[in-house]
Symmetry: C2
Subunit: 277 residues, 2 copies
C-alpha cells in the first residue's frame, strides 16, 4: 500500500515532521511518500495545501495529513480537502488546558523561532565552538568544554559533537586518540585533567576500516588489523579510566547524544545539589 504523508504547519513543520514520522514508523507495511508544507498561513496558504492534496489524491496516493496548524480557517479548508487528517496539536492543547487550569494563548506557539534568544544564541555559539575546535587539541577548548568526546579517528565523533551543539547548546570538544596515546594505561595528558567530562566512542573494526578506506584507500591506517588494534586499545583505555562509551555502529547520532546528555544532566545534578526536578 502506498500513501502520501503530508506534514502541514504554520511554522517550520519540524514538530509535525518529528511526531508524524515517529507515528509512521509503527506502520512498516505501508510505503509513504512524504512532503512537508511549512509556513501555511491564511486563505492563500490553505488553497496551496488543498491543491497539493488534490494532486496526490489524483495520482493514486491517498493523503494522510499531519498538522500542527492552529488557524481555524486553515483547519476548515483542510477538512474539506481529500485525505485523512491527524491533528497533532488541538486535542493535546485541550488536555493541557484542563491539566494546567488555564487557556492556551491565542497566538501561535513560538517554538522553533528565535523565541528565547538567550538559549538560541547559546546554541549558535556552541556550533561555532564545535567547529573551531573540531578534532583540535587546544587545551583552552578542552578546559571550556562541558563534554569531551574521545575516540580513534573516524569513529563518528564529529556528527555527535555537532548535534549536541546545534540542538542542545552544549559546549563539546573532541579529541582524537592516535597511536601515540596508547603507550600507557592512563588518559592522554591533555585530556587527563578533564576525565569526568569525557565520553568515549567505539565502533566495529569492519565498519571503521570501511570508513577509513573511503578517506585513504588501501592505507595501513584503513587496514582491518590497525582498526582492530586501535579499537581494542581505546576500549581498554575507556574501561581502565571509567570513561563511559557508546558504539556508533549500533547507535544513531541522536541516540548517542541522548546518552551523553543523560550523563551530563546527572553530573550537573551532583554539582548543584538536587535542584533539578
Amino acid at each position: 500500500m502506498r500513501r502520501a504523508a503530508f506534514f502541514v504547519s504554520d511554522s517550520t513543520g519540524i514538530t509535525a515532521q518529528t511526531l508524524g514520522n515517529a507515528l509512521l514508523a509503527n506502520f512498516p507495511g505501508v510505503q509513504f511518500v512524504r512532503r512537508t508544507l511549512p509556513f501555511v498561513e491564511g486563505g492563500r496558504g490553505a488553497a496551496q495545501v488543498v491543491r497539493a492534496l488534490e494532486r496526490a489524491q489524483a495520482a493514486g496516493l491517498a493523503p494522510v495529513v499531519f498538522t500542527t496548524v492552529k488557524d481555524p480557517a486553515v483547519l476548515a479548508a483542510l477538512a474539506a480537502a481529500p485525505g485523512d487528517r491527524i491533528d497533532l496539536l488541538g486535542g493535546h492543547l485541550t488536555e493541557l488546558e484542563q491539566v494546567l487550569d488555564t487557556t492556551a494563548s491565542e497566538q501561535l506557539g513560538q517554538f522553533h523561532t528565535l523565541g528565547d534568544t538567550t538559549a538560541y544564541f547559546a546554541r549558535m555559539r556552541a556550533v561555532e565552538f564545535a567547529i573551531e575546535h573540531d578534532d583540535g587539541q587546544s587545551t583552552r577548548a578542552l578546559d571550556q568544554a562541558e563534554v569531551i568526546i574521545v575516540a580513534p579517528s573516524r569513529c563518528g565523533k564529529t556528527p555527535t559533537t555537532m548535534y549536541l551543539a546545534l540542538q542542545h547548546g552544549v559546549l563539546v570538544a573532541n579529541y582524537p586518540l592516535t597511536d601515540d596515546d596508547f603507550p600507557t594505561d592512563g588518559l592522554p595528558p591533555l585530556v587527563a585533567p578533564y576525565a569526568g567530562r569525557c565520553f568515549g566512542v567505539t565502533t566495529t573494526p569492519l565498519r571503521l576500516s570501511q570508513v577509513r578506506h573511503e578517506r585513504r584507500p588501501s592505507s595501513r591506517y584503513a587496514s582491518l588489523a590497525q582498526c582492530t588494534l586501535e579499537l581494542r586499545r581505546a576500549e581498554q583505555l575507556y574501561q581502565r579510566n571509567r570513561i563511559p562509551f557508546v558504539n556508533s555502529s549500533t547507535k544513531s547520532v541522536e541516540e548517542m547524544s541522548a546518552v551523553i546528555l543523560q550523563s551530563l544532566e546527572l553530573r550537573r545534578e551532583r554539582l548543584s545539589g538536587d535542584e533539578s526536578p
Copy 2:
C-alpha cells in the same frame, strides 16, 4: 505558576521533547522546569521515572508528563505516579490504525535510531561535507553542493549549513561575500555558474556589528559603517541576481532551513517533472 515538565521516552526522547515543547509554548503564563528521561524500559526504568516524579511533586512542582512510551507496563506505572500524563503516541496510533486500515507494529517504532541506514549515512556524509567546506571557496565543493549559502562574514551562514546537513542530509556549501565581491553587479565568478542553487542571508547592521565586535573588537571590519555598507551591497547583489534571501536577525536557524528546503523541493520538482505528491 511553576510546574515540572517531564519528557519520558523508551528511545531518545526527541519526539516527546519536540511536541511537548511545542505544546508548552502555548502557555507563556506558566513556568516549566523541564527534564527529559530517555531510554525508559522495563520495571527498573519505570521505577526511576516514578521516583523522579515523586521528588518533583514533593518539591512543589506538580509534574506534567509527556510520554511516547508504548510498553503497557511502563504506562501503568506512570498512571499510578503523581502528575498529569499526556500520551503523545497512543491516541494518534489508534487514529492512524483506522485511517490506514491496518494495525500498528507491536515493535517499538524505529525512529531516531539507525533505522534507514542509507538516509542516515547520507546525513553523516553531509555533515562532513559541510565541515570540510565551511567558509571554503573550493570550486569542487560548490559544484557538488545542492545549496550554496552566500552572505557577508558573520551573518549566520554556518549554523544553518550545519542544520541542513545534520537534519536533512542536504549537501550545503557556503560562500563568504567579501569587499572584493562587490565591484560589479554580477555574482562572484566562482559562484555565478550555480546561481540557481544560491541562497542569501542578511541581518541588521547593528546585530552584525555586535557579532563582529566579539571576534575583532574595535576593528574597521566590525564598525557599524562597514557592516551597513556590506549588507546593503549584499542585498543589492541578491536582488539583481534573483537570489532568494532571508534575514537571520528575525528568523531562527530552523526557520531559515525550512525556507531553504522549501525552495530546494520546488527546484527538485521542476527538475523531475511532477513526481512528488
